[in-house]
Structure formats: C-alpha cells, structure tokens
C-alpha cells in the first residue's frame, strides 16, 4: 500500500496503532488503519466413477501444472458456493454433495484452503478460461510430479489413502515453506 485509499495521502506508514498488537498500514494523513487479512481459497476434489478431475493451469503461477479446481472466495458467497463456482469456472464442471474434507493454513502466504469432497455430475468437464485442459485421472495415473501446489499434493494423498481405507475424516493442518524453500506440512 503506497497511498491511503481513504484520503489519497502518501503518508502511509507501518506501525502498531494505539491499543493494537499488530503492525498495520496506518495513514498519518487521515488516521485510517488499513487492515490486511488472510484470503480463503475454496476448492474441491470432483470424483466420477472413481476418477478425479484435475485442471492444467493456463495461468501463472505454475503454468502448465495440474491442480484441483480452486480459487479465491468472493464477497457475498458461501464457502460451498465458492468451491462449486470455481469448479465451473475452471473446468465447466457441475459438482454436487460437497463435504468439507480439509482446511489448510498456508501461513507463509496468508491463505486458508478449504477443500471439499464432491461428486462430478455425469463426468462432464471441459477447460475453462484458466485451464489449458481438464482430465479425469484414476489414482494410478495422477501426475504427482506435475502437480501445481503442495496443498494439492497433500489433499490428494490423504484422499486416496482414506478412500482405500474406506473412511474419510476431516484434515486440518499448516503448509508452509522453510527458509530453504522446502515444503513443511504440519498435520493436526
């Protein structure tokens, strides 16, 4: 934040406001405190006849890599609506019977992923604006080395493990990166 969005002043500084405990963007011109908060990414694991729908990204970051349909939740919608909307936008997929499956805090980038299990209606899907292609994968065919994000890898690993065991549970955890860039997964 370079300018205050309330008064247009360039006097925006980083400091802890009186009575607060966190450093904020504060406008010294008009006094407005500009809070920043984590963003929610809502997505799902669309399944049809045992296969999982993945999308190959046509945008950065991770152009060309495979991901589960997921994206930033919008104002005015519910978490389930957000996950279903993203499946439609990225994969022209209608998903049903959504059940919360995993909630991961990506503390290093201040995102919270909400991943739902879902049924893909009629197995139908095609590439949306942010996808090069979409495809249904059996577990044995998942392109593990070409997955876009650690959170997708973690979600799919747990999902297939539990599907084999015949029982799904809710997964909470943190996924971050160490100073060396290495992925750190902490499960609760």
């Amino acid at each position: 934040m370079k300018f205050c969005s309330e008064c247009g002043s360039a006097e925006v500084v980083h400091r802890i406001p009186a009575g607060d405990t966190h450093v904020r963007h504060v406008c010294e011109g008009c006094g407005t405190i500009h809070y920043q908060n984590p963003k929610i990414v809502a997505g799902c694991i669309p399944e049809w006849q045992g296969k999982i729908l993945l999308c190959r990204r046509s945008i950065e970051p991770r152009y060309g890599y495979w991901t589960l349909p997921a994206g930033f939740m919008e104002t005015g919608e519910s978490t389930l609506q957000a996950a279903a909307r993203e499946a439609w936008e990225e994969a022209r997929a209608v998903v049903e019977n959504l059940t919360l499956y995993a909630m991961y805090s990506l503390t290093h980038i201040s995102q919270v992923y909400l991943m739902f299990r879902a049924e893909l209606r009629e197995g139908k899907a095609s590439a949306g604006a942010e996808s090069l292609e979409v495809a249904l994968f059996a577990e044995a065919d998942i392109p593990w080395r070409e997955l876009a994000f650690p959170v997708v890898d973690e979600t799919l690993k747990r999902y297939f493990e539990e599907r084999r065991a015949g029982r799904y549970s809710l997964h909470l955890g943190d996924i971050s990166r160490g100073p060396d860039g290495k992925v750190i997964v902490r499960r609760y």
Copy 2:
C-alpha cells in the same frame, strides 16, 4: 475505496475487468484491480468442568452483549493460532486441544466463522481489552437473550444439543439476514 492505493489517483471505478466475472474496484489511472475478499473470524467454545466461557463485549458492535471469544484472523497465522490468540486477547484464556466444530458463511457481511471446540486450561480467565467481564456458564445459565450475534447463538445451540447426545459432529451452514432484518440460518 476512494483513492487508488497504488498510484493515489481518485479515478477508482466499479466495473468488471476484461476476462473477469465480478465487479471490482479498478483504477483507471494505473490499471490496478483492487480485489476484496471475505474475512475469516476464528473463535472457540472454551469448556471447563462442563461450563462454557463467554465474554461481555466492551466494544461496538453489540457493546454489553455476551459472545464466545472470536475475532479476525491475522496474516501469517494458522486458523488454530487465530482462535487461541483471540481467546487470550479477549479473555486471558489459554485454550487447548482445539477441534474444528463449525464453519458458517455470513454471506451478507462476507465473513466466514471458524469455531473450534476447546478446553480451557485450569478454568482461568479474566477480561481482556475488548471485554467488560468474562464468566463461565453452565448450560442452564447461558444468557440466550443477551448473546451478541446469531452465529454465537447457533454455535452454542448445536454444541449443547450434541453434548447432551454425547457425540459432536462438524457443522456447516450459512447465516444471513433477510430484507426485514430477520436472521436466516441454513444448515448443510
């Protein structure tokens, strides 16, 4: 948003950017798109010897009404850390063994509440900066008519129902207000 936080221009308009599907704040000066996203409120239901910890608010909105400790998640923290931090800030309470209990989308104000079950260490608590007082309540003594928010009411109702039944499950739902201001709860 009255001014662009990137360039300070007053030419911030509401429109759907090319390739987008939602109305955004767009700066016609420098082209920056300013996204707005729902905020996460993380909180918990601290229990000690069968009693639940509530806080009486010393701030608006709902000054003087009772609430579960909860507040906006900060950047850089996990959802569990956020819930535990809020319990400390509002009630000087150390909470342990947090388990996700409910996730409610408050679509009319673009907030997502994450409520955790929690154990209150040693039954100790005292008013933090945003509380007039804090107290432990048995189910029969919960001040139902003086609760601050519908989401607190809904969470506590489900909690006590399930505690009596001896089995907790995860609750998802939307809580909004109709045009007449009436609370609408939709459970999934």
